[in-house]
Symmetry: C2
Subunit: 354 residues, 2 copies
DNA sequence: TTGAAAGCGCTACCAA
DNA sequence: TTGGTAGCGCTTTCAA
C-alpha cells in the first residue's frame, strides 16, 4: 500500500526530468518518440495520473463543469429532464478528463451564492444555465464573475454566452394543428411555471398556434408540478364551456390531468383529449398512451457540453440549434365528443369505475 | 476587473503574515481576537475565499464528495430516486464547504474506472455507494483504493463502510397484510432488477410476507423500468389463474402496470389491486391514486451525507437506521372481485373505453 | 501571539 | 530535445 505516485516518481522511473513528463502527458511537441514512450511506460507502470488540483494551480483551470439546479426538493423527483440531461453531459465529459459538479439549491439567493462560490473558489471552468427565467439575474452575474457559460434557450437580457436551442414551437403547433383537424374548437393549455422562459414560450406558442388556426385559446396556469396539473385540470373541467382538449406544458402535469379527468368519470380520449410535452419515457406507458412533444434531454446535454467545452478551450463557441421538436401522436387524443353539452353540470360520460 | 485575491493580498491588507490568515480562516486557536477581527475584515473586504485546489495540495483533502450512478441513459429519467437523493445530500453539503461531483455511467467497466480515476486524481474525499449489487465489486475496489464510502443498504460481501439502511420489509409486509385482509389470495409481485440487492430483498420480503400469511406468492421479474412493468403485467394478466393484486417493486413499474390493466379493460381497483414502492411524488396524482410504500430519498441523502462526512472527518462513523418504511394506502387497492372466474379467458369487466 | 520559510504536485520558463 | 528552477495559493512547521 504505497502512497500515490507523483510526477517526480514517474520522472525518476523514466530517467528524465519532471518537465519532460509534463510535456509528454500534455501532448506537447518537442519530445523525442523514444523518451515519450519511456515516460508513458513509466506512468502506466506506476499507475500515475496527474493531480488536477496541482495542475489547476498553475493552469488556472479546474477541469470541472458546473450545473446548479434551482428546484423545489419536494418535486424534483418528478422532473424527468435533469437526469437525462446530465447523462448526456457525462457522455461527452467522460472522455475528456473533466468532471461535473452538481448543486441543487432551494431558492434564488442560494443559487446566486453558489455561482459566486464556484467562481471565487475556481471550482469550475464553466457552467450550464438551465431553466432560464425572465430577466434572469444569472446572466449578468456570470458575466461579472467572468465565468464561461452556455444557456439552454435564449435569454431575454443581453447575453454573450453561446445558446443551445431548439424550435419547440414547431412541435406545439403540430399538436394544435392535429387537434384542430380532429375537430376540437375548445383547446386549453395548462402552462408551466411562467417565471421560466420556456413556461411562457410554450404558452405563447400555444396561443399563437390556436389563434393562427382561427380558434380562441384558453389558458390556465400551472408550475410544471403534478399537483398544479391536477388543480388546473379541475379548474378547466369545472368551466361552463369546458375544453375538449387540454395541452399540458409538460408530461407530469399531463399525467396528473389524465388522472383527474378519469376520476371525474371522463373516458380518455373520447371525452377529452390530452397532450403533454417533453416526451418522457413514462408517457409511452400510460393509458391511454400520452401524446407528447419530443425533447430528448440527453441531446441537450451533449450539445451543451460540447459547446461549453469549445467556449472554454477556444474562447468562442457558436450557438447550436437542435432539430425541431416533433409531435409524438399517441392514443390520448381523439375527435371531440359528438354530443357537446356546453352548459352541462355533470360529466358527459358515466364513471368508468367506483 | 481585478484578479482574484489570494491569501497574500489578505495578509497584506490586514498587515499580518499569510500563516496567520490561514490560522484564522481555519479557526485555529492561538490568534488574538484583535488580529482575528482584522483578518476577517480584510478577507470580507477583498471578497477572498481560500482556493480549495491550493488547500488540497497540502491537506490532501478534495473538499468534494462523489456519486457515481450506473444507469441506462434511456431510462434514467423515469427514476425519481436520484434527484431527490441528491437534493438531500446537497442540503447537508451546502453549509459545509464541500461540493458534490456527479458521474453517470452506462456500464460497470466505466463505473469502476470512474472510481479509480476519482481516487487516483484525488478528486473526492469519499463516495456514496447506491444500488448495491450482488457481490458488488465496488466494495473491494473502494477498500483497495482507500476511498472512504458509505453504502445505501448492507452489502452481501464483507464491508467496513458505514451503512445507511431502513427496514423496507416492514412496509412491504404491511402491504401484503392489508391485501390479505381485503381478501386477496392471489397476490403477485413484479420484481425489480434482481442484480441489485434491493431488487431481490424486496422480492424476498414479499414472498416471505405472503408465505407468513399462508398464501402462495407469485413472482415475475422486471428491472424497475416502466417497460418491464408493462411486460410483466401482461404476463400476469395472461395467466390462467391471474392474480387479483399486484405488488410492484417500484412506482414507475406500477404506473405502467396500471395502464396495461386499464388497457385490458380492467377497472381499478375493483378488478385488480395495484401497489407500488418508493412513494414517488407522482403516485399521489394517478387514478386511482397509487398505494405505495414511502421511502423519502431526500432523507437517505441527508443521512448518507452526514455519515460520509463524519467518516471522512473523524475516521469513523456509525451505521444509521432510518425509520421503518411505511405503507401509504391509497385508492388503488380494494377487495378482490367477488365473482372470481379462475379460468375465464376474458376480463371480468367491460372495457371502460374504446 | 506572530513571522518566515519550506513544500504540496504540477506547469512553464530559460538555458543548455 | 532536454534539465533545472521558479512559482501557483495554501498549510504547516519552527523560531522569535
Amino acid at each position: 500500500m504505497s502512497k500515490k505516485p507523483t510526477i517526480s516518481d514517474v520522472a525518476h522511473e523514466a530517467g528524465v526530468s519532471k518537465g519532460l513528463v509534463s510535456f509528454v502527458v500534455n501532448g506537447r511537441p518537442g519530445v523525442s518518440a523514444a523518451t515519450r514512450e519511456r515516460v508513458l511506460a513509466a506512468a502506466a507502470e506506476l499507475g500515475w495520473r496527474p493531480n488536477p488540483n496541482a495542475r489547476s494551480l498553475t493552469t488556472r483551470s479546474a477541469y470541472a463543469l458546473g450545473l446548479v439546479v434551482l428546484r423545489d426538493p419536494e418535486i424534483i423527483g418528478s422532473d424527468p429532464f435533469f437526469p437525462a440531461f446530465i447523462s448526456g453531459v457525462e457522455s461527452v465529459l467522460s472522455d475528456r478528463g473533466r468532471v461535473m459538479l452538481l448543486s441543487v439549491v432551494p431558492d434564488e439567493e442560494r443559487e446566486l451564492d453558489t455561482y459566486r462560490k464556484l467562481a471565487a473558489e475556481s471550482r469550475v471552468d464553466g457552467v450550464f444555465v438551465t431553466d432560464l427565467r425572465h430577466r434572469d439575474p444569472r446572466i449578468a452575474l456570470l458575466a461579472e464573475l467572468a465565468l464561461p457559460a452556455v444557456t439552454l434557450g435564449h435569454a431575454d437580457v443581453p447575453s454573450d454566452f453561446p445558446v443551445i436551442d431548439r424550435d419547440y414551437g414547431k412541435g406545439i403547433a403540430a399538436v394544435v394543428s392535429r387537434l384542430r383537424e380532429l375537430g376540437h374548437t375548445r383547446i386549453a393549455h395548462v402552462a408551466g411555471d411562467e417565471r421560466m422562459l420556456h413556461g411562457t414560450h410554450r404558452r405563447d406558442q400555444f396561443t399563437e398556434a390556436v389563434r393562427a388556426s382561427g380558434g380562441t385559446p384558453i389558458v390556465v396556469s400551472g408550475d410544471f408540478s403534478p399537483d398544479s396539473g391536477a388543480q388546473a385540470t379541475h379548474a378547466l373541467l369545472g368551466m361552463a364551456e369546458k375544453p375538449t382538449a387540454i395541452v399540458f406544458a409538460n408530461d407530469p402535469m399531463a399525467m396528473a390531468g389524465m388522472a383527474v379527468a378519469q376520476e371525474l368519470g371522463l373516458r380518455l380520449p373520447d371525452d377529452l383529449s390530452i397532450t403533454g410535452m417533453d416526451g418522457s419515457e413514462m408517457s409511452r406507458y400510460l393509458f391511454p398512451p400520452l401524446a407528447t412533444v419530443g425533447n430528448d434531454p440527453a441531446e441537450w446535454g451533449r450539445a451543451a457540453a460540447l459547446s461549453l467545452l469549445a467556449l472554454i478551450e477556444t474562447g468562442a463557441s457558436d450557438d447550436v440549434t437542435l432539430p425541431d421538436a416533433e409531435f409524438i401522436p399517441r392514443g390520448s387524443i381523439a375527435p371531440p365528443p359528438q354530443a357537446a353539452q356546453p352548459s352541462s353540470e355533470r360529466p358527459t360520460a358515466q364513471p368508468s369505475s367506483r
